[in-house]
């Protein structure tokens, strides 16, 4: 049976932004459906804070753990309907565009919540707080077992209590998360063999001066954050480090056995059992893309970001984007952005078909939150800009060869993409049609960013012109039986539903 329900608001994502938004909405008396694919709240940054055994070694500071527990408790207290371990299958705007429109979400409940049962939630508003994912890094051998994202090491530590054990543990790439992981592994007794800095040497004239002035501004704005960064960097110096690495390759018969690379003109080889790579994080735009919202390319982040107003609202729609999913700014700001989105949503809903008196109740709190958020942004943004300048995204093809796989699911190589472009595929979606890039199980989550950058680079056009992979339901591989088990006939749309661009039923498209 497809279970149907009606709520005031749906929040997708239970990280800092989603939890903050949820707490505000519930405290204001709105009925909220919180959908999250993890089995416990916290998102990626607070992952495992709730579930880790008490005797496990702490991974984050006590203050951070307190914040996580407080956020989780706030959403629990408010009696929110939390669907943990649930997968969003589809999201639709129904009715007319504009503030009176509604949102329909189709999602699969978790196995331990009575089975993977399909649900439809109709709501007056939607908060998308789906956070960040790691920016793709392309190199030969990257699909071998034993090559993972640094984020995967974080995840295994936080949820599962696992650390990689030496010998042969190598980190490659750059960025704050890599430095943090290096220091954590060291503290937990894992010897990291080497760190490979994959970025080119940027000694462009003027770059040094720009870096210095950004550093000065960042130091004035957020000295504590920079001090933490400096401590991490100092701790990391004890690990062997290769700079300006190029031609990174992972080798092995059926799993990684060794890596090779060129550093300071010398080709080297290291035995390797786990290679964890990292090139910063980008917004996860799967749901904002599915809803056909407007996105713009941000050069500094080398990623598409959904277009919203200062409160995270998407133009006139009843849709808000909060946290890193609306542009990378980190967890402390994500909490404020979630809170602000929640307050703005309450104001918007109360403004529709309600007395203006109740709408004005939340205005002073909203204004205060807006002011706090802007102060926090002013404080933290210079540090973020400095970090972005120190760790710019790697050129997408720096370590790639024609044989390098870009789309892991469909095993589409850079060479195949180049051939498609040469044959007239003048955009990301044309390349997809030619090659199946982005058409596998992950639905382009992992390769979409890389594909846009490759197409833009090859055609010499802006990434906005190169375009992004179109996202279609189902968002995760879904069994026909999940649809058939529903209480509506196959092909029958929900009343008044349909995507703006096709108008066909979610069921028909899901099965097709």
């Amino acid at each position: 049976m497809t279970r149907r329900e009606v709520r005031d608001a749906v929040v997708v994502g239970a990280g800092p932004a989603g939890l903050a938004a949820t707490a505000v909405l519930a405290a204001q008396g709105l009925s909220v459906r919180l959908i999250d694919e993890q089995s416990a709240v916290g998102g990626q940054v607070w992952r495992g804070v709730i579930t880790r055994p008490a005797d496990a070694p702490p991974l984050s500071g006590a203050a951070e753990a307190r914040r996580a527990h407080a956020a989780a408790a706030a959403s629990r207290r408010a009696g929110v309907d939390h669907a943990a371990g649930a997968s969003v299958i589809d999201a639709r705007r129904s009715g007319i565009d504009g503030p009176d429109g509604a949102i329909e979400m189709t999602w699969l409940a978790a196995r331990d919540a009575g089975g993977r049962v399909m649900h439809d939630t109709r709501a007056r508003a939607l908060v998308i707080a789906t956070g960040a994912m790691e920016r793709p890094v392309l190199f030969p051998g990257a699909t071998l077992p034993g090559v993972m994202g640094v984020g995967a090491v974080q995840s295994a530590m936080k949820r599962g209590g696992l650390v990689p054990d030496g010998p042969g543990v190598v980190l490659a790439g750059h960025g704050p998360l890599l430095q943090l992981t290096l220091s954590q592994l060291r503290r937990l007794g894992t010897a990291v063999e080497a760190v490979l800095d994959l970025a080119p040497d940027v000694s462009v004239p003027g770059e040094r001066a720009a870096l210095a002035s950004d550093l000065a501004r960042a130091l004035r704005a957020d000295p504590a954050l920079l001090a933490r960064g400096a401590t991490l960097l100092a701790a990391g110096r004890r690990t062997r480090r290769y700079r300006c690495v190029h031609e990174l390759r992972a080798h092995g018969e059926r799993a990684i056995e060794r890596i090779s690379f060129v550093a300071t003109g010398v080709r080297r080889e290291l035995p390797c059992r786990l290679l964890a790579v990292h090139d910063g994080v980008v917004p996860n735009v799967q749901i904002t893309r599915l809803l056909r919202l407007e996105h713009r390319w941000q050069d500094g982040q080398q990623a598409f970001v959904p277009v919203t107003d200062a409160a995270g609202r998407v133009s006139e729609l009843p849709i808000w984007v909060a946290g890193d999913g609306g542009g990378i700014a980190g967890a402390p700001l994500a909490t404020l952005r979630g809170r602000l989105a929640g307050l703005d949503l309450v104001r918007a809903l109360r403004g529709v078909g309600a007395s203006t008196a109740s709408a004005s109740d939340t205005v002073p709190e909203l204004d205060a939150c807006e002011r706090r958020l802007h102060r926090a942004i002013d404080r933290r943004l210079p540090a973020r800009r400095f970090v972005d300048r120190v760790y710019p995204a790697l050129p997408i093809d720096r370590h790639a060869t024609p044989d390098t796989i870009v789309c892991r699911c469909e095993a589409v190589t850079l060479g195949a993409i180049d051939a498609a472009i040469a044959a007239g595929a003048l955009g990301a979606n044309r390349v997809k049609t030619f090659t199946r890039c982005g058409m596998g199980a992950c639905q382009g989550r992992l390769c979409a960013n890389a594909l846009t950058r490759i197409v833009a680079d090859r055609l010499g056009v802006a990434p906005d012109a190169a375009g992004a992979l179109r996202v279609r339901p189902p968002l995760v591989p879904t069994l026909i039986g999940d649809y058939l088990a529903g209480d509506r006939a196959v092909g029958e749309p929900l009343a008044g539903s349909g995507h703006a661009d096709t108008g066909t039923s979610p069921v028909a498209r899901g099965v097709a």
Binding site: R111, E134, G146, C409
Partner: protein, 102 residues
């Protein structure tokens, strides 16, 4: 196969699951993916395209490289699945292929 991963704390493994028909004790805070990694598996099935392995990459629900069959449901994301008593996990290498079972 010598595992790359080691468990940090000394909590008792108290959850009973099966992996490819074999009874296994799991820790309550594990996911199916971290369980399989701890058991020394570095991939959970063959790649649908060609003879390579389909390897877990992100462990946060994005890459779909950790797909396996959990409680008869193929294509389950092991990294999102908490271990619970009685869970039946079948990795791609241990599972009969579609042709074989047809």
């Amino acid at each position: 196969m010598s595992g790359v991963w080691r468990r940090l704390d000394g909590a008792a493994a108290s959850v009973d699951v099966t992996v490819d028909g074999r009874a296994v004790k799991a820790f309550a805070d594990e996911t199916v993916a971290t369980l399989l990694l701890r058991l020394g598996l570095d991939h959970f099935g063959p790649h649908p395209k060609g003879d390579a392995a389909l390897a877990p990459y992100c462990l946060m629900g994005t890459c779909f490289g950790c797909l396996c069959t959990i409680d008869d449901r193929p294509g389950s994301q092991a990294c999102l699945e908490p271990v619970i008593d009685g869970l039946e996990i079948v990795t791609g290498d241990g599972a009969p292929s579609a042709e074989a079972s047809a």
